[in-house]
């Protein structure tokens, strides 16, 4: 297992060099529409999560019901933990998730990781638009872990996500 892990890290690092994943210092506001900017004093590498970055990180699936949708849609996206790791966010950090309409909610990175927070980009194969809570929507595996179906976890389900500010 250690070998495979090293391979993955190397691959991620190489991919990062030639992909938009590693954004480097970019002025605030320069991020294109349809992307989430991960920045703040506690990130080692500022990054921009867009479709290209998602492809590099490896898109995953999550089938779950949500309080806002019908049935059990299949979401495509990436676990928050993976994104924070790619940005080099240390444990014990605090995350401020900011939406397009300036709605903001703050939570601990460890807590969100423990609750398997997931950044969804597609729903049933279709890309989420601003009109249906896209381009990125933070959801939780409510079907698999019903104990997460609480008001406080729902408050963390930021949609139309624009920035993750790490403190």
């Amino acid at each position: 297992m250690p070998i495979r892990r090293r391979c993955l890290i190397t691959w991620l690092g190489l991919a990062g060099l030639t992909s938009p994943l590693l954004a480097g210092p970019r002025p605030a506001g320069a991020v294109a529409r349809g992307a989430v900017r991960i920045h703040g004093p506690k990130v080692a590498r500022e990054l921009v999560l867009d479709d290209a970055a998602l492809a590099v990180l490896g898109a995953e699936d999550l089938a779950t019901r949500t309080p806002w949708t019908e049935g059990v849609p299949r979401f495509g996206g990436v676990p928050l933990a993976k994104v924070l790791k790619a940005a080099g966010v240390a444990g014990g950090s605090s995350v401020r998730a900011i939406a397009l309409n300036d709605y903001a909610v703050e939570f601990s990175a460890d807590e969100a990781t423990a609750k398997s927070a997931f950044l969804a980009r597609t729903m049933d194969g279709r890309k989420l638009t601003v009109r249906d809570k896209g381009p990125f929507w933070m959801i939780f595996p409510w079907s698999e872990r019903p104990e997460l179906d609480t008001a406080s976890v729902q408050a963390l389900s930021v949609w139309q996500l624009r920035e993750l500010e790490i403190h």
């Binding site: 309409n101 601003v130 009109r131 249906d132 809570k133 139309q160």
Partner: protein
């Protein structure tokens, strides 16, 4: 004993029966409390209010983004507007999905509000999604605002509905708890001694009641937290209408401290803005009736007026006694300010703040009607800047805009408050002096003042520029009975002022129309002259003063009209320059002159041809040097035989484009002559900067050469100047032997004029040249001797 025991039993059973009944009632009430309490936690869930408020908030943000985009705010690109629309779209389904309680007010439910919102968005969506910009589209903004208005209104009512529903349910629950406690206390007091079970049950019930109240308080806190963060605010008064609570939002917006607001009467803090609505509002307050969307004017921390929109409903205690008001409010100062600004923009020119064309037209129509009614005159002044284009070209568009603003300020300074002042577009302004006594004298005086103030130099950065203005004046009703006729008359007068040399004003006269018609006809004719072969080039010979040898000829444009005969260049060249016809004419003349000169072969092989270039060609021909190169290539004429004559004014403008063109002429090997040297404002600086070969002395100096010693001194100085800079000098307009001798004495190199030869057709010139050559060969020694 048994009777006593029986009686006791009856009492005990009776009491137990009563106790059971009370217990049953208590249990029933308890179940109700639990139900109400659980309902409560849902009711007070801030989600309901949150979803309504967020929808209102996103609606306003979308509308604001669109308004700012339309108004030209560079910080709001159209993509932002579309994003706001998308966010608003995403909020609408949440109205019912996120709101756990069914808000209902006067038959309006959230589901209905949602349906109205969906319909409205469907209606405007195609128009908004299918475009890339909406800058200046006030009509769109109005349409969108109109379509969204019912949505705004429904959501506002839902907010009020929510506050009312929430308050009703809260009061109901509290009443239930209180009355249950009373009932319970009676029961408990009466049967404490009878049964311990009852006590235990009662204690359990008291716990339930306490929990329910704690839950209510917790929700209340959550609600307060929400109230502080929402974009609208909540407020409460006591029975004297003194404010007992306002959410933080009001203080944030107004900058007021809590102490400034709390304890003051609602009616002192803000007063109704409109009279009729104010009376209704006062009556509602006096009658303890609800009121909705009343606009009040209050003051912010800095004393600035703030417009707020409030709705409220009376709150009664459990006893039905009026306890005060509770309601919502919103600060609409910014929104109103923006609306005012948009209304202003629609009626005014955004650059200068003067009236725009449409508004001015309204004023004009009104003034004409007033003039007709009172039998008195009104005056219309049209003006435009003479040098605006130059300022724009030389200093850039920002300087041009600054100049227009400065012009507007100066005009405001000379006009009276009753006069209407507008910018009609570009550098065109208009002023209207409404009907009054002695308008004609006033209007002329005003026109004079306008010409004077705009004739003063303008500071542009650290430099100065002169713009100057021409003014046309027309009077109503003498010069026109309607706006169109009056504008046309003023325009003709303005045109005349420009014709007469700019920087002046002209009062309309009926013959101005005829003149213009004549010029228009001439322009039409000139347009067709080239196609119809009415244009020709004539050549006027240029000779060496010292030995009379022919060195070249100046090409001169001629127009022979089939009916009018020859039309003098002094008449049609300015017309061609004004209308832009000079560009095709100039190209034609250049090509033709090169082609003709290329035909001067044999003995005439060394003769140069001079072609005049108009300042307009420098300013508007895209690639003047390219045209010259093309004419040379097409004709095969050696570049050294072409002389381009340029007037001083072209070089004086000092534009990089002129410099570049002159350098390319040099690179081609073409020679350059300064035409009419000494006639304009001569600045010797440009002679150093521009690589010129010849100076052509203006004919006005040559005319009186032999009589006027001053002219002789000037010509002598110009020739010396030419010699010291290594330039050839050519005298124009030489008509007598005396003049020629004089020029020879002063050392002038070449001469041109009727004495040597009039301008003539190419064929005639060829004959002239051949003859002249033979003649000078024969007489050269003699002429040289005479000159010496």
């Amino acid at each position: 004993m048994s009777g006593v025991r029986k009686a006791w039993r009856v009492w005990v059973y009776g009491l137990l029966l009563l106790a059971l009944g009370a217990l049953g009632a208590d249990a029933w009430r308890g179940a109700e409390i639990v139900h109400a309490a659980s309902n409560q936690s849902r009711i007070y869930d801030a989600a309901t209010a949150w979803s309504i408020m967020q929808a209102r908030y996103e609606l306003e943000r979308f509308r604001e983004a669109l308004a700012r985009h339309v108004a030209g705010d560079p910080g709001v690109p159209y993509d932002d507007v579309r994003e706001r629309l998308d966010i608003l779209w995403s909020r609408v389904p949440l109205l019912t999905k996120e709101a756990p309680i069914a808000v209902e007010i006067d038959g309006l439910t959230l589901a209905e509000a949602q349906a109205v919102a969906e319909d409205a968005l469907e209606a405007i969506d195609p128009e908004l999604s299918g475009r890339a910009s909406a800058r200046g589209d006030l009509a769109l903004l109005e349409r969108v605002t109109a379509v969204l208005e019912p949505v705004r209104e429904r959501l506002a009512r839902c907010t009020t509905g929510f506050v009312l529903t929430r308050q009703r349910l809260f009061d109901e629950t509290r009443r239930t708890i209180l009355s249950t406690e009373r009932l319970h206390n009676t029961t408990f007091g009466g049967f404490l001694a009878v049964t311990a079970t009852l006590l235990a049950l009662a204690l359990a019930e008291a716990t339930v009641a306490r929990r329910a109240e704690a839950a209510a308080v917790a929700s209340e806190q959550r609600f307060k937290h929400f109230a502080h963060s929402a974009s609208d605010w909540l407020w409460e008064t006591d029975a004297d209408l003194k404010l007992t609570f306002v959410s933080e939002r009001w203080r944030t917006v107004s900058g007021l401290r809590e102490a400034d607001i709390l304890g003051r009467r609602l009616t002192e803090v803000a007063k109704p803005t409109e009279e009729a609505a104010g009376r209704r509002y006062a009556a509602d307050l006096a009658g303890h009736r609800p009121f909705r969307d009343v606009v009040l004017t209050g003051r912010g921390a800095a004393g600035e007026p703030r417009m707020i929109q409030v709705s409220g409903s009376p709150v009664s205690g459990p006893d039905g006694v009026f306890r005060g008001y509770r309601g919502v409010g919103a600060d609409i100062t910014d929104r109103l300010g923006q609306e005012r600004r948009i209304r202003f923009l629609a009626r005014h020119d955004s650059l200068t703040g003067l009236l725009n064309r449409a508004t001015f037209q309204e004023h004009l129509t009104l003034a004409i009607d007033a003039a007709a009614r009172d039998g008195r005159e009104a005056a219309l002044l049209l003006l435009d800047l003479d040098g605006f284009k130059e300022v724009n070209d030389t200093f850039g568009h920002d300087a041009g805009d600054a100049l227009l603003r400065e012009v507007a300020d100066r005009l405001r300074g000379v006009l009276r408050a009753s006069d209407a002042l507008a910018r009609l577009g570009g550098d065109e302004f208009a002023a209207l002096v409404p009907a009054g006594c002695e308008v004609e004298g006033n209007a002329e005086q005003l026109a004079r003042r306008i010409v004077a103030v705009l004739g003063q130099p303008f500071a542009i950065g650290e430099q100065e520029a002169r713009a100057g203005a021409s003014v046309g004046v027309a009077l109503c009703p003498s010069h026109g009975h309607d706006a169109e006729a009056l504008l046309k008359a003023a325009d003709l007068a303005l045109y005349r002022a420009k014709q007469d040399g700019r920087g002046r004003y002209r009062l309309f006269a009926p013959e101005m129309g005829d003149e213009l018609r004549h010029r228009r006809a001439l322009e039409r004719e000139l347009r067709r002259a080239a196609e119809r072969g009415q244009l020709d080039l004539h050549y006027q010979p240029i000779v060496e003063v010292a030995d009379g040898r022919l060195v070249g000829a100046e090409a001169l444009l001629r127009w022979r009209h089939p009916e009018l005969g020859p039309i003098p260049p002094s008449l049609f060249v300015p017309l061609a320059e004004e209308t832009g016809l000079i560009l095709p004419l100039g190209r034609w003349a250049l090509e033709r002159a090169c082609r003709d000169a290329a035909g001067w072969t044999g003995e005439l092989g060394g003769l140069a041809v001079s072609v005049n270039l108009s300042p307009v060609q420098f300013a508007h021909e895209d690639d003047l040097a390219g045209e010259v190169a093309k004419a040379l290539a097409a004709s095969g004429l050696a570049a050294g035989r072409l002389v381009l004559e340029i007037t001083e004014t072209v070089l004086m403008r000092d534009q990089p484009a002129v410099m570049a063109a002159v350098e390319r002429f040099r690179a081609l090997g073409v020679r350059l002559a300064i035409d009419d040297f000494g006639a304009g404002y001569s600045s010797l600086a440009y002679l150093r900067r521009f690589p010129v070969d010849k100076l052509k002395l203006d004919r006005s100096f040559v005319r009186d050469l032999e009589r006027d010693p001053e002219d002789r001194k000037i010509v002598g100085a110009m020739i010396l100047l030419g010699q010291s800079l290594g330039l050839e000098t050519v005298a124009e307009g030489v008509e007598s032997q005396a003049q020629l001798r004089c020029l020879a004495d002063l050392g002038c190199d070449q001469a041109q004029g009727y004495l040597i030869g009039r301008p003539m057709r190419n064929a005639d010139f060829l004959r002239f040249a051949a003859f002249h050559r033979r003649a000078t060969d024969a007489v050269r020694p003699g002429l040289a001797a005479a000159v010496a």
